[in-house]
Symmetry: C2
Subunit: 396 residues, 2 copies
């Protein structure tokens, strides 16, 4: 280990080196063939245009030169911004919620770190359903916890028996993400209710078990009116989310935590989360974006753009012969790879100048994640490569 860095950080850097290597290869390809001839489907960077309501709100906020609007406010956020977000959440989730149940955070990432830190004693287990967003491991370990992976079924729906079998006396939380990154699965209402029932059987006052819903893709849906949620069925549920996808503004760090009224010891938890927002160094969600949210907390970007991309990509992949569970939400397709080694398949695609992420990075080998939040031309340009790579694997 180098002495200049903490051992754990040096190890994390080392573990991430294969991703960096892939990006390096991609960059070399772009230099060699021109960026327009390399098709990067590796990044989850929402590319829809933010809605007019966002730009209008931003302009109004920028025109207001009151100096006090850029100062520290209470760590949970400006009152009007919390009220606007609470009103939106109450409608969206069909729950009873006032401003006091909402803490504005530095993105969902900041919110998730506050929640995990608030509840995890050293060595506590946090169950994550795989495939999963790989940043969770950092968040859980930073909170002193230990990530325990439980695989979902073949269609990426929660496997309730596997979940029940994984719960122990050290399980402090179950973390779910629906619509899911990377699989695009939307957990069914039936499976949500089943999951709630499994948790309810395990929860005890002396050993409380939290359900943490990471919901930033909740409104990015295809062919569904409403995203099912276990929040009504399991009282000790905390929601973490953001406006990164709704408004297509992930760079602005506009996140929030919701602690619904049904959560036991709610005031204690809200107090701890507010303190942690400060002590973990986030301090508060950025003042500017809070003031924008106060004006457009229910706005939504044009999801139809993503839907067209999804249809284009998924119908082609299926036609070529890929085994794919068509995503019902979020911004990714997660097909099986035609050969078991997903890293090797990623390398084959790279030779065809297409960048995707191997499934093992998400805890599910034998798949690749294809982000369709890109220019349409990028998808169209990549399709022949997917066809050719599959043929190559079959020919081999």
């Amino acid at each position: 280990m180098p002495h200049a860095l903490a051992d754990k950080i040096a190890a994390d850097m080392q573990a991430a080196s294969f991703i960096r290597e892939m990006f390096e290869k991609g960059r070399r390809l772009m230099a060699e063939h021109g960026p327009e001839n390399v098709y990067d489907l590796s990044l989850g960077n929402p590319n829809a245009t933010p809605p007019d309501a966002f730009f209008d709100a931003l302009r109004a906020v920028a025109a207001d030169r009151q100096p006090a609007r850029h100062r520290y406010m209470p760590n949970a956020g400006f009152d009007d911004a919390r009220a606007a977000v609470a009103a939106f959440v109450a409608r969206e989730y069909r729950v009873d919620l006032g401003p006091d149940g909402v803490i504005l955070t530095s993105g969902a990432a900041g919110g998730m770190n506050c929640v995990l830190r608030a509840i995890c004693n050293p060595g506590d287990e946090v169950i994550v359903l795989a495939p999963y967003f790989p940043e969770y491991r950092f968040y859980i370990e930073q909170a002193g916890g230990r990530m325990v992976l439980v695989q979902t079924d073949a269609e990426f729906q929660p496997d309730l028996d596997a979940l029940a079998a994984a719960l122990t006396d050290r399980t402090r939380a179950v973390l779910i993400n629906t619509p899911n990154n990377p699989s695009g699965a939307v957990y069914t209402a039936e499976r949500c209710a089943g999951l709630a029932a499994v948790l309810a059987r395990h929860d005890r006052p002396d050993r409380p078990l939290y359900l943490v819903c990471d919901d930033p893709y909740r409104r990015i849906l295809y062919g569904l009116d409403w995203c099912p949620t276990p929040v009504h069925d399991y009282p000790r549920t905390v929601i973490v989310s953001s406006y990164s996808k709704d408004l297509s503004i992930p760079g602005e760090r506009a996140g929030y935590i919701v602690v619904p009224p049904a959560v036991p010891e709610r005031a204690q938890l809200l107090g701890a989360l507010t303190m942690l927002n400060r002590t973990l160094g986030y301090v508060n969600a950025p003042a500017l974006i809070q003031r924008v949210l106060a004006r457009c907390a229910d706005a939504l970007c044009d999801v139809a753009v993503y839907r067209t991309n999804r249809d284009l990509l998924c119908s082609a992949l299926c036609e070529y012969g890929y085994a794919l569970t068509t995503p019902r939400g979020a911004l990714y397709a997660f097909p099986q790879t035609p050969i078991p080694d997903d890293v090797a398949f990623t390398e084959i695609l790279l030779q065809h100048r297409v960048l995707v992420v191997p499934g093992r990075g998400f805890g599910r080998p034998g798949h690749v994640r294809i982000a369709f939040c890109v220019e349409r031309a990028t998808i169209l340009g990549a399709l022949p490569a997917f066809k050719a790579a599959l043929a190559e694997c079959r020919g081999a």
Copy 2:
């Protein structure tokens, strides 16, 4: 311990309860006497008006409806914003610095957490000079480190012998803050050079010792043209700072880390800090404020407002008979209390409807911190109370 929260968090909440109690008392006083008759000098919330350059930049940024400007950018920040901040830092510190040496962060708080996490192995010691900003303890402990306090001298200048005596094989970093919160001390050039020499004698390649300068008050100076710094004298120095005070925008979370070219293993450290900005959940400094900084990275609020407040407060305190080292920078006066028990003295001031913070919260009992970043009327209203409280203590 309640079961709903992690033990450490519940304990931190408990430890903070006396501060909350004081605020509650203040709130009751405001309800009883009217807010205009309660003089709150407890909060370090910069109240200068942001400079015109800031408001102009914000309006220009808000008028630009390019959708891509709100998306994820590299975790270290937009290129143009990093370049603007680097150019400012190079001039301000008189160092050679390019954009690659700057990482934009979620406030100085976010930057400090990245730095400490990058370098601290579990149990490593971080020396903090007291009096000190109490959030440091959270940041250090979150990074797995242990805070070691070393008192400054009677005028709040570094005590070099005490510092040398506190260095051990486990010391990973020394954290300094000049101009200082809460004392207002500006470390002299001579003392900065002496501090650098002490650290240089201890630093070894197999046991590197970082100097971390927390510099958000650097340009808030009274009667000084330039704030001395040890950065030129000690190579392994990392600067953490923000625009919270310069632009009077602490709610916007506009911070940065500087790793000067002289730092050994610089590329490794910059890589780790960039990764940590992401994995600790900050992800990036808010996109909007980055774009504003790209246009006004060297702007400064009107420091004369603070200076007038300082003069008004400090000359009155001295006239009444308080023992006070007049602050040369930052936003606080830190007089000795006329009785040794600073919490008891805070209570006496509270009876006179004045709110300040006891020195023991900053690691220096027998003092109180008085924030002068408030409306002038608040200072004027509080002065008779300071006079009366002193007389009371002397009469007793």
